[in-house]
Assembly symmetry: C2
Homo-oligomer: 460 residues x 2
């Protein structure tokens, strides 16, 4: 196994060319939710397969019903070392609203900020910059003689749309993808100076509802007062989903939600976390979730219900006195503990059907579902990774929760019986999913160094 | 005064050329709510001024802060006859959704339906076809020697957006526009065979609300559970506006709402009106308004609250786990009796501010307001017009209410102290404001004949 210092020096020496490679990847408009960009998603997959091939991997682009997967395998420089499965995603969120970007979203650039240099572009933090930290660590090992572990890479292109093709792909390629441990790089640091290992992930249920009233748009003067208005129906559905104390009202919704173990609760209480700063950074000041819970609980260990989009009737300038024939909304539920995604989707649909007036119909569209996940605190890999991160950042990593969902981690557990080590270098102010998304240059550089240390530690 | 039969024969002889003129007017895309079509609105005004000039009127296109007015004056063939002010509007609703039109909305055509021939095109029933019935009646008198009454024509281009420029225009041109009686042709018949004179009009308050939460769109994983979601806030606002019995909950909302006089209630009860057919024609079956009221009351004599449009967050295909920074909705209140539009707008805004979480802001945009209106049942003009319509249609006209609002009628009463005779030839199935808007050829032809009879009757 190459000396760790040699590998770290390689990463330092490669920084400029690593950035050029990352920029190429960001320039590919791999927006997965909009079919218009299907060709770009394929291009991103091909770019990554080519990159991995150049690093000695046996890499291939594998078709699915949606966007393709990239799968790549490489042997270690000696036998009897762990087999790791690294997962990342090359798809990105839509860049809308475009007018709020300071520079075009798919033309990456380096920006100078008071806190350091930043890389700006859609997907740089979620997840292209992050996955490239791992690939750059692999490159440094390769250029220093060989890999310390056996590595399989799995990159998908549908993470931002709930990974619809993933379960079938895992089932069909179980043998090929099984490993000792999965590594996922789609999470964040505690703060600019403190790394984190994420041990809890919220699950996700995505449900769209289209409410249909009359068989055509109506004049609100002629029919107003007598005809059902689907916007009102949707409003009642949304308003009734949470009670006055911020709790979700669906029957049985909290089944499977567990309270935090006391030692974790204690660690979280002792974190230097300012609720004021967290909300203040986006112009808010009052926690909007369940009363009696801390903000960290609200976003890490408690389930939610949110509407991510709504549309109905006339929405351009001016007014139009129309009663729309239909209105629709996109709902998302964040899950924790052992909440059952299928049961929650079913309960939600039953709730909507119950509220629905006899004159209206509802169409339901599922955009995916995944369970929440918890990594055992006693895991040996967790200890080794913690030590590796402490060596790079000179401070103890936080064992954190994560409000977002990474469906693959659930699939790794359920379908391949693998635990996942979640290490990432994003920051809270990265504007993930928002205009002007950025990734710290230090995250990119020290992230690659961190992965080198983690791979080295896991191989010992 | 020309013999009535001569005038009616002229109208019959002119039918083909009258249709050609109407088609020209429909081809002008005078959508008032969208600034893109401002030039088309001006073109429609100019077309009408030219048409009226050719009929011996002294006509002019008059600029306003919005779309221009057309004002035209013509003398009668003798003195001591009534001076009538005819009002119509040349603007039309947006044609969206375009994909539901069988033929392009601004390419009028004649369609054969089982019940007779129809003219199809945006604005043909609301209000271009209707206003042309009056102009064609005037043409027939002109070609038969002269006009039976002194006539002023006022055509506006902002009726579909709440007539924002109208009050100031009336105030500035009061002397020029005052007359003995106003005529408005923007209403409907009772059914295909039975004409109607509209004696009650609902008023309208149009309020748009933009709710702002965070200062940017947020990732629902990172902030979900802790940050206010403006879509939820809007949903609470909308859901709270009506109680379980369909009544509007704003304090004092029903102040000024009067119960129907018993004789009118009696007439309405005896009308052959099928609630099932009315709602069934648009795919509905259950009256959605105030419990204990008939559907005719709901749409003619009771006030309403409706949301005409809502938008927020991600609304294209697929899903996006975003907490939007803002969401907005367009509200309309239909008013009756003596409800005060200003007071209702104010009460609504106070209600929204009260519901609004401390962390959110609301921006209010008024899109206009007008009072409800009632024509005295004892009016002499009403009796004469009734007789004229009975002569043309061979049946008693219904003295109806109208759920839509025609703000000008309120302004005529308030600012110019004029009563208004509302006669129109639209039908319930005209698809006003909807795709494939149509106007019966019989409405267009017999409508012009009806106006000839009414003008003749008023001049006696």
């Amino acid at each position: 196994m190459a000396a760790l210092e040699t590998v770290l020096d390689k990463i330092d020496a490669n920084l400029e060319s690593a950035l050029a490679r990352l920029f190429q990847l960001i320039e590919i408009r791999s927006v997965s939710t909009d079919p218009v960009f299907a060709g770009d998603c394929k291009a991103a997959a091909e770019w990554l397969a080519k990159e991995l091939t150049s690093l000695g991997f046996e890499a291939s682009v594998r078709p699915t019903a949606g966007h393709p997967m990239v799968v790549a395998h490489a042997k270690a420089d000696r036998p009897d070392v762990p087999h790791l499965l690294f997962y990342g995603h090359y798809d990105v969120q839509p860049p809308d609203p475009l007018e709020l970007w300071e520079t075009p979203p798919f033309e990456p650039r380096i920006a100078d900020a008071p806190t350091g240099r930043q890389i700006v572009g859609r997907g740089v933090a979620d997840d292209k910059g992050q996955l490239m930290t791992f690939i750059e660590a692999v490159r440094a090992f390769r250029e220093s003689g060989g890999l310390p572990c056996k590595i399989t890479v799995l990159l998908e292109g549908e993470e931002e749309t709930g990974s619809p093709s993933l379960p079938a792909f895992l089932a069909a390629n179980k043998k090929e993808l099984e490993a000792d441990l999965a590594l996922v790089c789609d999470t964040g640091m505690w703060d600019r100076a403190t790394p984190a290992i994420t041990t809890m992930l919220r699950g996700l249920v995505l449900e769209e509802v289209v409410v249909q009233g009359a068989n055509r748009d109506l004049h609100s003067g002629i029919f107003g007062g007598a005809a059902q208005n689907p916007i009102h129906v949707l409003a009642r559905i949304i308003a009734g989903l949470r009670d006055g104390e911020g709790r979700v009202t669906l029957p049985g919704f909290y089944d499977g939600v567990v309270e935090l173990p006391e030692e974790v609760a204690e660690q979280w209480r002792n974190l230097a976390f300012s609720e004021e700063d967290f909300l203040g950074s986006v112009g808010l000041s009052i926690p909007a979730g369940e009363q009696g819970r801390s903000v960290l609980e609200m976003v890490w260990s408690r389930p939610t219900c949110d509407v991510n989009g709504i549309i109905g009737g006339y929405t351009r300038k001016g007014s139009k006195t129309v009663l729309p024939a239909q209105a629709s909304a996109k709902f998302s539920f964040r899950l924790v503990g052992n909440q059952d995604p299928a049961k929650i989707a079913e309960t939600f649909r039953a709730y909507v059907r119950k509220i629905l007036p006899a004159d209206c119909r509802a169409e339901f569209i599922s955009h995916g579902a995944s369970r929440a996940l918890q990594l055992p605190f006693s895991s040996e890999s967790l200890s080794r990774a913690s030590r590796a991160l402490r060596a790079e950042w000179a401070t103890e990593p936080v064992l954190a929760g994560c409000g977002g969902s990474i469906p693959i981690v659930g699939n790794f557990k359920t379908d391949l019986n693998m635990d996942t080590l979640m290490i990432g270098f994003g920051l809270e102010d990265d504007r993930v999913h928002s205009p002007n998304e950025k990734y710290e240059l230090s995250s990119f550089h020290k992230g690659a160094r961190s992965w080198a240390r983690v791979l080295h530690a896991l191989a010992l």
